[in-house]
Amino acid sequence: MSDAASSFVAPPRPRFEAGTANPYLPMPATVIEVIRETHNIKTFRLVLQDEKAMREFHFEPGQVGQLSMFGVGEATFVINSPPTRKEYLQFSVMKAGEATAALHTLAPGDVVGLRAPLGNFFPYERMKGKDILFIGGGIGMAPLRTLFLFMLDNRNDYGKISLLYGARSPQDMAYSYELPEWTDRKDIDCVLTIDREAEGWGYRVGLIPDVLLGMAPAPDNSVAVTCGPPIMIKFTLQALEKLKFSSNQIFTTLERRMKCGVGICGRCNIGGKYVCVDGPVFSLAELKELPDEL
Amino acid sequence: MSVLKGQELRIIGFLCNWCSYGGADTAGIGRFVQPTDLRVVRVPCSGRINPLFIMKALLYGADGVLVSGCHPRDCHYAEGNFYARRRLEVIKALLPALGIDPRRFEYTWVSASEGRRWQHVVESFTMQIHDLGPARRLPDAPELDVLKMVAAE
């Protein structure tokens, strides 16, 4: 036999143990509130039907869930309410495909399925004591919202907290009802921007990377967390590097078509990393290690 | 006359909006008694009928499919039924190759004023399908058995 055969070590034969949880079985959840954010984004607040499961539900900021519209299918969304506020689990959904279009038909009282929490999360422990810069574009604000509110709820653990949130127009800005609270707070620096002038807009105008360069945040003892459409991410990362943020100081979340959400079904890989289990949160340094397939 | 010979069969009719659907309406207004096996799907024009509609119906539960449009040269859209005529005639050749009796699918032309004619078409086709009896269906996957369920208690 060849060398390959003699050096080959077979993996251990797996055993099925009774009582093993079924990772594909969703938990039924009831929609308690639907918020229309923009013309194509809705936010859903859910509670698990099993009260005990809801009480014991534990997740970390940045983790995602698979929302099931039974009969249509599943899609992946970040849990965008923080673990510190657990009256409900919140998801924001932009209408794009079959599942999201179906989700947009939900009304309070409707039943959906939820498989969560899935994936990794923002390394908020390692961010303690640092200045945090959030840069969100459009629906990309959703994952940032989780960490942002989590940090506000643990305000003393972090240094300066800044938020740069941009959208195409005021009408495209999700969470607009929360923005006054954020901009009014003295302990955070909140900058809002839109791409083009609009009537009645009292904040900045300009593309996120340009506004960011204008803000010129100092990289020392800082962490930047960014999420948004691919083109915005691309230029924001360039801007951050221009501002001398190192790739270990920058975090983002990735999107991929996902199905199982638990690293088995095989489609969300970038090389050997699976976005559903190794992500969705990656530092720029980790991203640079991955093959270029975004 | 509700049903011929006991069991009602499933016949799907694709009717163009401008002529045949009107013809069926005329038959109804005239209270021309017809068998009830036919279920009508209204389409804008016989030219809108994707031949796959017919095949899908025949494979997934219909015992017969009837297509009816405006008479040639009378199409509301001038030429829709000319295209339809060719497509329908060609797709018919697929039935014998699949083991489906070609008599399970017919197409015809009925105008909005031809209520009597519509009655005749429905009677003749329904009779034809009853002569053939219920169609054999290819099996579905066992994993889809659950789709036969209705709401739980």
């Binding site: 079959e98 | 000319f82 295209y83 005639e89 083991g99 015809t108 032309w109 099996p139 579905d140």
Partner: protein, 321 residues
Amino acid sequence: MSIQEELQAVIKEALPDVSCVIGWREGPEPLRAAPLFVRTPADADAFRSGYFAVNNPAVFLPEYKGGKVGVVVKGCDARSVGQLLAEGLIRREEVKVIGFPCNGVIDVDKVAVALAGACDPGEIQAAREEGDELVLTTPSGEIRLRKTAVTADKCGRCLFPNALDADVFVGDTLEPAVSADDYADVAAFEALSLEKRMDFWEQEMSRCVRCYACRNACPMCVCREHCVALSRDPRWLTQSDGVRDKMFFQIIHASHLAGRCTGCGECQRACPARIPVLLLKRALSRRVEDLFAYRAGVDVAGPPPLLSFALEEPKIKERDW
């Protein structure tokens, strides 16, 4: 010079003008050639034509639209090129068609039948043609098969062994062996009872793995990833493993090829489950030929029959209810 050598020379000559020339090379198995993409003159040395060059290179042409490409074609392949041109799916000025007289190609499935269990066709180590015979080297010695027994069915009814509409034709034209396609295969199948015909498909389609090789190997299936079979809305098919859905996909394929199928048989050859899906397309081709005297890829002067109409259709006898 053999036809193959002449073709190699022609390919080399064509190269400066085109980004590549598509043809055949030896494949990983002796009985099956693989597609070859000649980009440099040196690549042309690997070119092989002949009995094992079964693949229809026309399937690749739409990918190269927008730039000029060369293609070496058998008679049947040329019909696919002709039909693609007739439907405007490729542009005449963007393809250089190189034709040659084809003596027929192998059907590996028939080899398996002819071997009658002597060995797996995959065990064949080498193959060569000797006159009317195919000589196979197998682990248990040489096996000789009559070529007539293992030549593809489509070759037996081929009317166009010489590529039509070729820019360059190498070799002397061949006389076709028959004067018309009698669709005897379709007639024989339809001579069975309806029950038997459906039994046949129920059995055959149960082997389908839904890999869609039939569709992707089809030179006329140009929708590729936009195929209606993959659409979720409207949902023509479920994702299940049911015979009914699998059959319905074949109906989609056949009906979308009505009046377009050139009969190259790649759908059937590509099928890893060996389902004779060409039969359905041929049933429709027969009808189109009867009704409109149209043969896809041959009678391409006018618009395709299902994209046109006549006020009076002499061959269509309508129901006179």
